[in-house]
């Protein structure tokens, strides 16, 4: 007979932790939506965070986007050459970069750079009692720290993704231009020829979802950090790993839904 008074876990420690973790994350996300639409809005802090997320990632995004454009073009050229279809290169690159690579590369870089930074910063604030200090000063730390950061990533990452796609296309153009004589206007026209409104909308929607995911995961892990400095490292690491995992899951789901919508 099981003694329920001394029984510590409902199923097992691992499974209990897993399900309570999901419940906590759900409560955390619900609290974000509850607080996001209430005053005060801390607009100045949102702008500061947009600067932190956006401007400080710009150099990395530029370089990565440029390289992705060049490498993808170089890799695709031989296959198209076999069929004598190199003139389709701009269209192929356009589809690949605008619909998939631009948003995904930006999201993965930001998950690493921004997600870990948010996780570490909030984690460090938690373990050094700075979050408690805000709370005892009658300041809502969730609203000031979490809502502003999640809003900033949700706003800044779509902008970064659009910029990344533009730079990647430019990188691709440089490579195409080296082989064939083609003007930049003609290249961009061809690149966008097969892209429709649904593709652009899906790409922007995707990046909004990625931005939100990176922000909320980084904040959740950092805000709930425990165990001192070890916990800070753990929070930063988990913020990156979980955000990347969720980004891939979301990518699959959004692509599937957008494909269904295409046939309606």
């Amino acid at each position: 007979m099981i003694n329920y008074k001394t029984r510590k876990y409902t199923i097992s420690k691992g499974l209990d932790d897993y399900f309570t973790g999901i419940h906590k994350a759900y409560i955390f996300t619900a609290l974000f939506f509850k607080e996001a639409f209430k005053r005060p809005f801390h607009l100045r802090e949102v702008i500061n965070q947009c600067f932190e997320v956006g401007l400080k990632s710009l150099a990395l995004i530029s370089l990565t986007g440029f390289i992705v454009g060049i490498v993808f073009t170089k890799q695709s050229r031989p296959s198209l050459e076999d069929f004598g279809a190199t003139s389709w290169l701009p269209s192929l690159i356009g589809i690949a970069i605008i619909k998939a690579l631009g948003p995904l590369v930006t999201a993965l870089i930001c998950a690493g750079k921004v997600g870990s930074s948010i996780g570490a910063e909030l984690g460090s604030m938690r373990v050094t009692e700075q979050i408690d200090a805000m709370e005892v000063s009658a300041i809502n730390p969730f609203k000031y720290l979490v809502v502003t950061r999640v809003m900033a990533t949700t706003i800044a990452i779509p902008v970064l993704a659009l910029y990344c796609s533009f730079v990647a296309l430019y990188g691709s153009y440089i490579n195409v231009h080296a082989e064939e004589t083609v003007s930049i206007i003609s290249f961009y026209q061809n690149a966008f020829k097969t892209i429709n409104f649904l593709d652009i909308t899906t790409a922007v929607f995707k990046t909004i979802v990625y931005g939100f995911t990176i922000g909320i995961v980084g904040c959740y892990k950092g805000y709930n950090a425990t165990q001192g400095t070890r916990g800070v490292g753990k929070a930063a690491n988990q913020a990156v790993v979980l955000a990347m995992f969720l980004i891939f899951v979301e990518e699959v789901m959004i692509v599937q839904v957008s494909n269904w919508m295409r046939y309606f």
């Binding site: 910063e121 460090s124 604030m125 050094t128 009692e129 700075q130 408690d132 200090a133 709370e135 005892v136 000063s137 009658a138 300041i139 809502n140 000031y144």
Partner: protein, 258 residues
Amino acid sequence: MKNLKQHIINTEESVITITGLYKSFDDLQVLKGIDFNLFKGENIAVLGKSGTGKSVLIKIIVGLLKPDHGEVLVLGKHVDQLKTKELDALRLRIGFSFQNSALYDSMNVFQNLAFPLTMNIKNLSKGEVKDAVEEVLESVGLKDKLKQMPSDLSGGQRKRIGIARTLILKPEIMLYDEPTSGLDPVTSAEINELINEVQQEYNTSSVIITHDLTCAKNTGNRIALMFDGKFLKVGTFAEVFDTDDEQVKGFFNYNFIQ
């Protein structure tokens, strides 16, 4: 040091009243029935070994932790029954000085001090904020550190800035969590003096959590000695330590005060 006897303590008016307070974390029972009174204008030093629940007690007073059982009445309000807005209003009347100061790393001293002020009082002009910050910095003797980052300050200076940050909202109650821990004897003495000055200048009532007997003796009008989640003795320094109780004597002897 200023003479504590000059300070008027109103023993008719209690600002904090705690009865039958229990608190546990999972299987660990930390507080096991605390009864406690803090009078207006009084400094009470809560002494005890590490891990006896001293910090938990003040975190319950300020509403950072919820009690399992018992009544916590602060400035006439039941802390555990307040709604968020009411709790925030009460917290504006309480200052909390953290053990590690908890200064905001990303802000300089001026921003650290101005932050609680500008977030809680709207429509303050830049001049008013600057005056308020300079006033509290002067009262903790660090007016020249306005532009410094917390990482550039010494342990004692960080403690002072931490105290100044709470004073800027003119609290009625001050809660000090280990104000002298990690400090050298000279700096500890300065912090003790500052606690007494705060009591007199700002007319605060204070709970000082410490395991430093010198700090308790110099700052507390009364001492509450905590052992194993309960108060073993409460009274003046002489009343508490004039005893043959082995636990009390052990604590006294360890601190080498004769």
